[in-house]
């Protein structure tokens, strides 16, 4: 019987792509209040309607099917700016490191008030005007003068506002694991930019695809993702932590992944910049840091490379481990 089972398993057609969706119950019923959240302690039956705490007076009951559609319409109602505010705050947070409201899941009395309330309202209104287009919102934020600021420090500003609540500079940020792994693969010339397809474990050595296609196991999170603060996939997460620990530095010192990228990078610049070490170093700086090396940096590089042997990939590994590559200024 086992043999039959194996045979049938082998003959299975490849799995087709599928998506879980939700469908309305044909005969939806009202639920009773769960007193203190307990399913064993039931109160009165309540007609399905919008949250009364957010309405003036008692809101009217829903009528279409389960009421999901009416609930969605009430949440995304232009008269309810909270939804748009929360969404634009999340997108702002993604670009700046901190939201305009620094407690992204709490806009209530226990949360922090917005640092720029008018800006939050302006963006929320624009977001709705543009048909809730996330792309248009990204564009508007990224074309702003504030987005273009560098992380350079001005002592006078720092003394007045060390937390940068007034956005006088960019917040310096460590790359998240997706950007970090993609950047390492990109500069080594190995990044596979193919769009779409099935998720694949990033622990596989031959996997050079973008990290967004990483296979994420809820039960056993990939160690590289976990090391760089990928959130727990079993629950929702409103912001990404960015820790900075010796274990992460060990990854740069010793991991097979970083060593492979270092080797590929040194082979790449040898091919692209010719035999001269100085030209190869310049190529490295342009690729990794988007600038030319200073005379001192060039000199340090040349001195290091005199060590011979595997010096080139070791030098490439140093540049890949540098703060300037790891942090977004």
């Amino acid at each position: 019987m086992r043999d039959d089972l194996d045979k049938f398993k082998r003959e299975l057609p490849p799995p087709y792509p599928y998506l879980h969706t939700i469908r309305d119950n044909e005969k939806p019923a009202n639920a009773r209040v769960h007193i203190r959240g307990s399913a064993d302690n039931l109160g009165d039956e309540v007609p399905r309607h919008f949250l009364s705490i957010l309405c003036d007076g008692e809101p009217p009951a829903f009528h279409q099917g389960s009421g999901r559609m009416e609930l969605a319409a009430a949440i995304a109602n232009p008269g309810n700016p909270l939804t748009a505010r929360v969404m634009v705050n999340r997108i702002w947070q993604h670009h700046f490191g901190w939201g305009i409201v620094r407690t992204p899941s709490n806009f209530g009395r226990m949360g922090e008030p917005p640092t720029h309330p008018e800006l939050l309202d302006y963006l929320a209104a624009r977001f709705m005007e543009n048909g809730w287009s996330i792309k248009a919102l990204h564009r508007e934020i990224m074309l702003s003068a504030t987005y273009a600021l560098s992380a350079a420090k001005l002592e006078r500003n720092f003394a007045a506002d060390p937390d940068n609540r007034l956005l006088w500079r960019a917040n310096r940020r460590r790359l998240d694991i997706e950007a970090l792994r993609d950047s390492l693969l990109y500069v080594s010339g190995k990044l596979d930019g193919k769009v779409g397809g099935e998720a694949q474990p990033i622990a596989e050595e031959k996997n050079d695809r973008r990290t967004v296609y990483a296979f994420v196991s809820r039960r056993r999170l990939d160690p590289m993702l976990a090391l760089f603060d990928f959130p727990n996939p079993n629950s929702t997460s409103d912001e990404r932590m960015a820790t900075n620990t010796p274990l992460q530095r060990l990854f740069f010192l010793n991991s097979g992944f970083v060593m492979r990228q270092a080797e590929a990078l040194s082979a790449r610049v040898a091919k692209e910049a010719g035999a001269e070490n100085a030209a190869r170093i310049r190529r490295c700086y342009r690729l990794l840091l988007n600038r030319d090396p200073s005379p001192k940096e060039l000199q340090l590089g040349l001195e290091f490379l005199r060590g011979g042997g595997k010096s080139w990939s070791e030098y490439a590994q140093v540049l890949l481990s540098a703060n300037e590559f790891y942090f977004l200024n």
């Binding site: 203190r36 959240g37 307990s38 064993d40 302690n41 226990m110 992380a151 350079a152 420090k153 002592e155 310096r172 460590r174 160690p223 976990a226 090391l227 603060d229 727990n232 932590m241 820790t243 900075n244 620990t245 010796p246 274990l247 992460q248 530095r249 060990l250 990854f251 740069f252 010192l253 010793n254 991991s255 060593m259 200073s294 001192k296 940096e297 340090l300 590089g301 290091f304 060590g307 595997k310 070791e314 030098y315 590994q317 140093v318 540049l319 481990s321 540098a322 703060n323 300037e324 790891y326 942090f327 200024n329």
Partner: protein, 303 residues
């Protein structure tokens, strides 16, 4: 700050303890992990914080409840308690308590070995919480506030006292798998990043498996030192351009610790180096191994 505010902050733990010093001293020179003299002479050498999320109840261990025994099997005399589920009758501890040692501290029969050592133990029974829920309580116990955004106790201790061992992280978290909430329980929050806990999933006894990427089998330590010297120079030139920054400085310091860890961690985290007798005394399993690892040094939190 009013007197009431001050009391409340102290009541919820570590809140403001080091803040005055933090505000006075914003020059984060390298060596921020070097040992610092405490305000009061220290009698303790190490702190090992065993945080037993979901551990045994206090009423079965160190906190006898005579009234619970008296009213066992009856409804609570205070009236119906508002709890998550329907409240039943009171349940007394199935274990008996006795006074032990010179101190006469009452302890339950479930720890026969520990009972003989009671005079070395300080039992705190005044702990009280206003949070009935797990996550805020985890924050309260580890970071002193029920809301996220405060440094953990380990970060405060490392910040205030430094560490005598410069070859390993000063604040290590041992936990097989991530606990509820995760890294926010050992965050340095608004303290410099170098004070955050280093998390190790201690499901394995081999240091090379316990700490990933602990060794480089292709590049020698001498050659690596040459790499790190160059990296240090490049990073400090970056720091000169950018101005002092705790993230950049934390990253530089983390790299030096990582380099030194390679040799030191092989010894410290290898509990197989302990004698068979010692290993037998601790027992087997992740928790026992965590305790054995924690004893030789540094500050550790086992969640």
């Amino acid at each position: 700050m009013t007197r009431r505010d001050a009391l409340r902050t102290m009541g919820s733990g570590y809140g403001m303890v080091g803040l005055a010093h933090l505000l006075a001293d914003n020059a984060w020179a390298t060596g921020s992990l070097s040992p610092k003299a405490p305000h009061f002479p220290a009698r303790a050498k190490h702190i090992i914080h065993l945080f037993l999320n979901g551990g045994v109840s206090q009423v079965d261990t160190w906190d006898p409840k005579p009234m619970l025994t008296k009213y066992a099997g009856q409804p609570a005399p205070s009236g119906n308690l508002q709890t998550e589920r329907k409240t039943g009758n009171l349940l007394k501890s199935p274990f008996s308590f006795k006074r032990y040692g010179k101190s006469g501290i009452e302890m339950s029969e479930i720890f026969p070995q520990l009972n003989a050592r009671v005079d070395d133990i300080c039992v705190v029974r005044s702990l009280h919480t206003d949070r009935p829920n797990h996550e805020p309580s985890l924050f309260r116990m580890n970071c002193g506030s029920p809301l996220p955004g405060h440094p953990s106790m380990g970060s405060w201790v490392t910040y205030g006292l430094g560490t005598e061992n410069q070859n390993l992280p000063g604040f290590v978290v041992l936990c097989p798998g991530l606990p509820v909430i995760g890294p926010q329980l050992w965050t340095s929050s608004f303290l410099p990043a170098v004070y955050q806990g280093t998390y190790l999933a201690n499901n394995d006894s081999d240091p090379e498996k316990l700490i990933r990427h602990l060794r480089n089998h292709e590049i020698s330590l001498e050659e690596q030192r040459r790499q790190l010297d160059l990296l240090g120079k490049l990073n400090s030139m970056g720091l000169e351009r950018e101005g002092s920054d705790t993230e950049l400085e934390g990253s530089i310091e983390s790299m030096e610790i990582a380099y030194r860890m390679q040799s030191q961690a092989m010894d410290t985290f290898d509990v197989r180096n302990e004698s068979a007798a010692t290993q037998a005394r601790y027992g087997s399993g992740d928790f026992a191994r965590g305790c054995l690892t924690a004893s030789p040094g540094t500050i550790m939190t086992t969640s």
